[in-house]
Symmetry: C2
Subunit: 265 residues, 2 copies
């Protein structure tokens, strides 16, 4: 019989730490023994909310947990991993939660390391019911099973992903989420400039996304670019030029050309 | 007392014609006296569905309607407008449904012309409950009121938009819908290449869009570009290069730079 894990320490009190903590706390099988955070305000608030303790001094981190979840910003992770090396027992499971860092960033800390990467844009204010696909990895089978059990207890979509696959998932996420959010920003800016309520565009955006539940976006491409409707394209560009919206004009021209090349293939 | 309109002819049997016809038919105040369509198959199917008649010969178009709605593709509109000139009584209301054509394309047909532009990506298979903001225009006040009544009977979001405003709405629609759909297509292609299920990305995309109900996308921008996380950007680019995905690499580089310039401002 494998030893089961149940005591958890969460290091961090930001967006990912908060939502993971709240989701884990709902499952009676697991106990979050403490939140470790330098930020007393967010740390205290999170610890209180999930009825756990707060530790603000990393040298006093609890030694009794089975798994340590490091949910901090990408840039903080390397420094923190170095520090944790001194304070976590060498056989405990430790995981990080980022898409672009290697699992090996944790290798000096313990003999049981892993990753739980949430492929979602998470805010601490996110609903507890937000759907979060989790991609996990571990450096040995036993750890992988234990991490998988934990991941499955908080998400219905769990899959294995090594360093390379996580990096690729991250690229896909940047393309479909960060880049499209930028387009929504440009659209909103344009509406502001032209005194149009951006709200009018929301049903269209929602419909564009809703369709992907059943239909590949590649066969749903519409608009003047794919129709090769040069009159409309020229008319649009002329207006963007007239309004001195050079950034939007650049993006319009670039993506129109890319769409035409893509769908000509 | 203004003369009310109630008898309607719809010219076209494509996506927009179908959804407008179905929405109008639900309102007992209006009667669709016939569907005019060259395509016997889609025309017959639509006419049957809404319990109306089909006319396939434009020279025999019903003379008794109060309003004629021309819902055809942008490129067909100019030719059709020329033909209709001969067959529609000069005082009837006639409207078209496109964002980029001027209201004046109809000016030889009647003294009462207008536009009902649906700002939505419509398929004939769309649910009847799809939300469609309608932008209307007319060349005189009486016609505007009558078109407005009709528009309000099928949509809860109706606003006035002249030629220029419709063109601008169309630009905004292209940016937020056509361009983002292209990014979703690139994301899906990338997932296929890398043997990743695109389904895993859907919750992220939905969340990105869901937030715009309450929050401006400009303050929700995340990702390596806005964080100026050059390590991750270089890593991502290296993978795209290695996998020979030059189109995706081009788009990644271009939009990353644009995001950085935009949010530096």
């Amino acid at each position: 019989m494998e030893r089961e894990i149940n005591k958890i320490v969460i290091i961090g009190s930001g967006n990912v730490a908060t939502i993971l903590a709240k989701k884990i706390q709902k499952n009676k099988h697991y106990t979050i023994v403490e939140i470790v955070a330098r930020n007393i305000q967010t740390g205290k608030s999170l610890a209180d909310e999930i009825h756990s303790l707060l530790c603000t001094d990393i040298s006093k981190i609890s030694q009794i947990a089975d798994i340590y979840i490091v949910a901090v910003q990408d840039k903080t992770l390397p420094i923190l991993a170095n520090e944790l090396n001194n304070y976590i027992p060498k056989d405990k499971i430790i995981v990080h939660t980022t898409g672009s860092a290697s699992i090996n960033i944790l290798k000096n800390i313990s003999s049981n390391i892993g990753v739980i990467y949430p492929l979602q844009s998470i805010k601490s204010s996110s609903s507890l019911y937000i759907e979060i696909p989790l991609f996990i990895d571990a450096n040995n089978e036993k750890t992988k099973i234990q991490i998988s059990d934990l991941a499955n207890s908080i998400s219905s979509k769990v899959d294995i992903a090594n360093d390379e696959k996580r990096l690729k998932l991250h690229i896909a996420a940047v393309i479909v989420s960060n880049f499209s959010n930028y387009l929504f920003t440009l659209g909103e800016d344009f509406c502001k400039t032209e005194n149009i309520s951006f709200e009018y565009l929301l049903p269209l955006i929602e419909e564009t996304v809703r369709r992907m539940q059943t239909t590949s976006p590649s066969i749903m491409q519409t608009g003047p670019a794919i129709r090769a409707d040069q009159n409309t394209i020229d008319l649009h560009k002329r207006i963007l030029k007239k309004e001195n919206l050079s950034e939007t004009l650049d993006v319009y021209s670039f993506l129109t050309e890319k769409i035409q090349q893509h769908f000509e293939k």
